[in-house]
Every structure is written in structure tokens, then in C-alpha cells.
């Protein structure tokens, strides 16, 4: 994983283009159902701490998926506990 890059840059030595690199999509799922989808641009901070609010019960499963400009993606799922 590399740093977030807002713009296309050019390597001064090789003149190679270095593509921009940032998260474009975030999908939030509750028990497998999409509850929110974010289209994200260059304007978020490097550590954007994007948050949403959902109504859920203990044991419900929350999943977050993301993908970026280079086609990388990942996902994380947690079960809602009792807050302890």
C-alpha cells in the first residue's frame, strides 16, 4: 500500500507517470444488505475517518468494503457486541 496521491505525478528521473491513488468507493452493509454507498473524491483527508450511523441490534453483522483508483479493494466485517 502506498500513500494517498491526489494527482497524477511524473517521476522527474524517468518521466514516468505515477497515477493518482485514492479511495473511490465505500460500501456499508448491515447483515448483507447495503445501507450506504459513498462516492469519495480527492478532497477527503489522507486519514478521512468517514463515519455513518445505523440502527442495529446486538449480533448484527456490519461490513465495510472499499475500492480505489488502482483497483485495489478490501473488506472488513464485524459483529456488533455489547459495546464492552
Amino acid at each position: 500500500m502506498s500513500e494517498k496521491r491526489t494527482r497524477i505525478r511524473v517521476n522527474p528521473q524517468t518521466q514516468e507517470k505515477i497515477p493518482a491513488h485514492f479511495i473511490q468507493k465505500m460500501i456499508f452493509l448491515l447483515n448483507g444488505k447495503e445501507v450506504a454507498i459513498a462516492d469519495v473524491g480527492q478532497g477527503v483527508s489522507k486519514d478521512p475517518l468517514i463515519s455513518i450511523r445505523i440502527k442495529a441490534n446486538r449480533g448484527d453483522k456490519v461490513k465495510v468494503m472499499w475500492s480505489d483508483t488502482l483497483g485495489e479493494k478490501d473488506e472488513t466485517e464485524i459483529a456488533i457486541g455489547d459495546g464492552a
Binding site: 500500500m1 502506498s2 500513500e3 494517498k4 496521491r5 491526489t6 491513488h21 479511495i23 473511490q24 468507493k25 465505500m26 460500501i27 456499508f28 448491515l30 444488505k33 447495503e34 445501507v35 450506504a36 454507498i37 459513498a38 462516492d39 469519495v40 473524491g41 480527492q42 478532497g43 477527503v44 483527508s45 489522507k46 486519514d47 478521512p48 475517518l49 468517514i50 463515519s51 455513518i52 450511523r53 445505523i54 440502527k55 442495529a56 441490534n57 446486538r58 456490519v62 465495510v64 468494503m65 472499499w66 475500492s67 479493494k73 478490501d74 473488506e75 472488513t76 466485517e77 464485524i78 456488533i80 457486541g81 459495546g83 464492552a84
Partner: protein, 170 residues
Amino acid sequence: MKRYLLSHACRYGDPPATRARRTFLKGVLTAVGALLSAGLLKPLHALAAEWPKTAFESGKIEGTLQNLFGVTQTTASASIKITAPYQAENGATVRLAVSADLPNVSTIAVLVEKNERPLIMAMNFSGAQPYLSLRMKMAQTSDVYVVVKSQGKLYSAKQNIKVTVGGCGG
């Protein structure tokens, strides 16, 4: 039903594991979710869905709204609550939270008028509460617009945020 705040931090500098954090809405208790790194990823249709490129590349608020919603007309609404500082020392990290007390909110978009590219993020809702928060970059002192789509109509609110040091270098 209990309400939870779901928070997700994406830090490229971190290991591939993404971090998920959940916090009680009332702010009484905070729980940090366990790290779960998914090794095998199933392709999901929605991840490949269209990213509104023209809206993000537009340099003007009107152009962004036209590309994002197809209309530019918005109605000022007191039902949109923006929580943000009036003065930000560092434009690289400006915290902003928005909640909309409007029916059937389908989208909340955040725009910084004087950024080279005003559109910061557009969140589309299909079950989550009409709320979002994020950290954004601001090049200079600017009005920040929040546009909410509710029952097919656009509503907006704005707040001016003074920036001491611009944050669009990176």
C-alpha cells in the same frame, strides 16, 4: 433497537488490514472492533459501479450538482445541521459532520466552494441514518455546502470555514 455509529478509517500507510471502529452514538461507550483482514475477496457488483467522475472533476459547484443530480437548484434548509469549526488551523484535516432531519434522504453531498475540485464526497443512503462525518481538505477559507436529496428535491446548507494553512498539497 440500539443506535450505533459506524466508523471506518482508511489509512493507506497501514497494513492491508482495514480498521473498523464502532462507537455508541451517545458517546458513552466506545468499542474498537477487532481487525479482520479478508484474504479472499469476492467481486461485488456495487464496487464496480460507476464513480461519478465528471461530478468530481467539475471545478464549480453548479457543474458538480448538474453532473451529480441533473439539477442545480437547491432550497436552503434549516433541517440540515452542519457541525464544523468556524476556523481550521490546518486545511489538510477539517472535521465535518452533517445530519439531515428530512424524510427519505437518498444522498448527502459535501462541497467546498473554493477547492479546485469542490466535491469531497457523496454518500448514498439505503437504510443508514441521514448522517455522515469525515475529515476533508480545504485549500483556503471557503463556504462549505452540504446538499441533501430528499424525496427527489435538493436542499442545502452552508457554513464558512476559515483556513489558516491550506491543505491541498498532497
